[in-house]
Amino acid sequence: MSAPNPNGGSLLTRDPSVVTVGAELLADALAAQAVPVTAVDWRPPLPGTADALATVLADARREAANRVAIERVLASTPHLVDVKPASEALGLRAGQFRHAGPPIDWARASGPMKGALIGAVLFEGLANSPEAAEKFLAEGHAELDSCHHHHAVGPMAGVVSPSMWMFELEDTTHGTRAWCSLNEGLGKVLRYGAYGPEVIDRLRWMSAVLGPLLRTAVRAGEAIDIRAIIAQMLQMGDEGHNRNRAGTLMLLRELLPNMIDSGAPTSDIAEAARFVGGNDHFFLNLDMPACKLAMDAGRDVPGSSLVVAMARNGTDFGIQVSGTGDRWYTGPAEVPDGLYLGAYGPDDANPDIGDSAITETAGIGGFAMAAAPAIVRFIGGEVDDALAATRRMYEITLAENPAYQIPVLDFRGTPTGIDVTKVARTGILPQINTGIAGKVAGTGQVGAGLVTPPADCFVAAIRALAEAAPPLG
């Protein structure tokens, strides 16, 4: 062993200021000596993770790997560049469908997932009745796969079929693309599992009128900087998951002149403008692929414990981690805690569903709750709860996003990039804002609220990271 250099720190020359973790008595002993002390409110890690945690934290690659991964995430610059049918965007052929969350088959699919698939089969003309559509699906004629496996994301059931139109976003920094369907509005809609005639009619209009009109408008102008809109909406009371009101109106402001210039019938333009402006969640389907691009940029860094996807299919909650490729770590999806529409109640709710948790994965949505105190009422909470929720998320994230700031927290950047090791250490689970689908196929939306992933996902992920890490000693 070579002789060390004198300590680069300044332990012996500075007045100590001490962070303590553990026995309160030792912190008290320092306070009694008039030493500044900051005590950590420590809890044991998630049960069964102590050994894996030590192995992963000892992995010499981790710190640099996480720095590389999060820098890529923060450098992502998503732009809306085109609007096109899924057949072109994802290369989907007849009989192929994409869905939210980790992969699932028909047999294990929940009510709203089944409902949305039935609706998509009807929409594609592969069956004439819901019963026939169900038979078609149950007999395995449809080819199902996760949106996430194809650079796509979908809210709630997230079902995409070849004829549905999609937003195409490009990350101009990394040269990558991601896609998301067009938002249908609230209530009886396909993504919540409804498949009645009004649902199919709306989808037809979206493909025939709205999609082409949006394409014309987008192609006529410069690529639209989605990151800039997200940055602004966070300063206007949106958090980018359950509240997208300001973002939607800013998007409309960008698109409307080109829609009017397009020469399309004014009645179509008026209807499209009315539809977009009247759907507070229209922009969700843009901030989701923007977040997908950011998190895809952080993928596949060996040794990184960054969570790159959180997604639910209505049955399973799954996460993916940068250091372990495309592997999913799943646990049973939980029923959100929230407010219900009309006479619906918790008994009507399906477990958590949708790819929209990509927003929290990228540091907005529930993580930016402090920016949107208006929606803290979803859990009957107070404004302080919104601030506390965001503050808590800083404990489990790797960075603060300088592009996305929260005014009420003195313009602090949103907590960005969930670190599996921090979740395991603190037991703090990511907070997700979400809509609630009815558990019976065909019902549609029944409410909205808050949910967390099952801890199992993170226990499985930390163990897998430990297996992939070099052994200690």
Partner: protein, 492 residues
Amino acid sequence: MSSALELRRGTYRDSVSLMQVSRSVAAVDGVTKALVAMATELNVGLLAGMGFETPDGAGPNDLIVAIRADDEDTLRRAREVLEEALVLSTGGGTGIGSAAGVPPRTIRTAANATPGASLALVSVPGPHAFAEAMDALEAGLDVLIFSDNVPVEQEIRLKDAGRERGLLVMGPDCGTAMVGGVGLGFANSVRPGPIGLVAASGTGSQELMCLLHAAGSGVSHCLGVGGRDLSEAVGARSTLQALAMLDADPATELIVVVSKPPADSVAAEVERYAATLSTPVQLAFLGQGRDDLTAAATKALAAIGHPGVQDRVWRPDAARATRTGALRGLFCGGTLCDEAMIIAADRLGPIASNIPLRADWALPADLRAAGHLMIDFGDDGLTAGRPHPMIDPSLRLERLAEELADPACAVLLLDVVLGHGAHADPAADLAEVLRAAGPNAPTVLISLCGTDLDPQDLESQARTLTAAGAEVHLSNAEAARRAVAIVEGLDA
């Protein structure tokens, strides 16, 4: 008889705080048993021992409350005391839900929220210490790991990570340090002075610092390195770093390295490195045939031209008649226990112990033996899942009461360690047990490790002990020699 058993899920408190809560509840008149503790394996075992069934699904994040009382009325009063004590143990302040008062949950967050944070003190249970210490290093903090039961490969990884960042890792199992006059962990208050310590032994450095202080000198800094730093595996990683730091410190005129004798190769490396420094280094490797701590202190003082150490003795108010028989040592400090065993074994032969000088002198698991024995209650094996005996004296007090009643025991030798972090009044609990002993109790000798600047006050602690019949020495080595003399029938 009434009893209550309750599981509070997701309510975490540290074990020391809960011990204080348990004690408050147990002190209610009419309460026969009380356990307020996290549902760890050890505590669930204790619960079963108290005759309670383990609640379903209890885990280490859940708080168990188990109380047995004479009647319902007592139980109700006990519950009131419980709630008060639990509130007090959180330190009051703002609620977790309030936006401004969210306490940090990780070292990184705490460091970010504390401009100027320089050092982390980690005392979480051993299996969790690595995560916290690594977080501290990544946040740019030097770190003291008080926790024991940390695997050696984790220690090596931490020390390498610290070294890469120019940060010092003190520990694991580092009980004592003093930096810039501030005591960390268990630390006595001593005046500033020219001697800097590098210590692989917590109580060894405490004893040394107290002796230097009593002689009128003082200490610049004491950098703990953890009990295993000079082992072959760890290879003195922190010791070499600490030596370099003290060499660069203008206030330090002499460096003393306190440790058990290291492996030969490690000793050679430390000696070689020490010889390259501009500050003189005294290696105080404690062991058979070597200087004890008192002699090491005298040697260090001589090196800076200061008069040597004198033991101080406080005589008991009423001296008991001495007798010959077995020597029984009950220690909190591992190094103090070790030092006493070396001195005693030299004259008395085998001393059975849980930290034996020779493998064949090991005490069985029940810690019983007929002849001479010494127990280190601070050893890893006796602290898993419970606080250190300097904080929680109960285990040692129970054994003390037994030994006091044993006619085969001639002399009881105990250490009492004062200073920050230690029990607020250790003499009081000891004195209570001593006073309860019968007229035929053995001679009780106490080595009192402390200073007049300590929060407990050396003089008043000594007076409490002498009033209860004990003879008190400042020097642990001298207390041990006196004990040997009595056992050999040589005390005059």
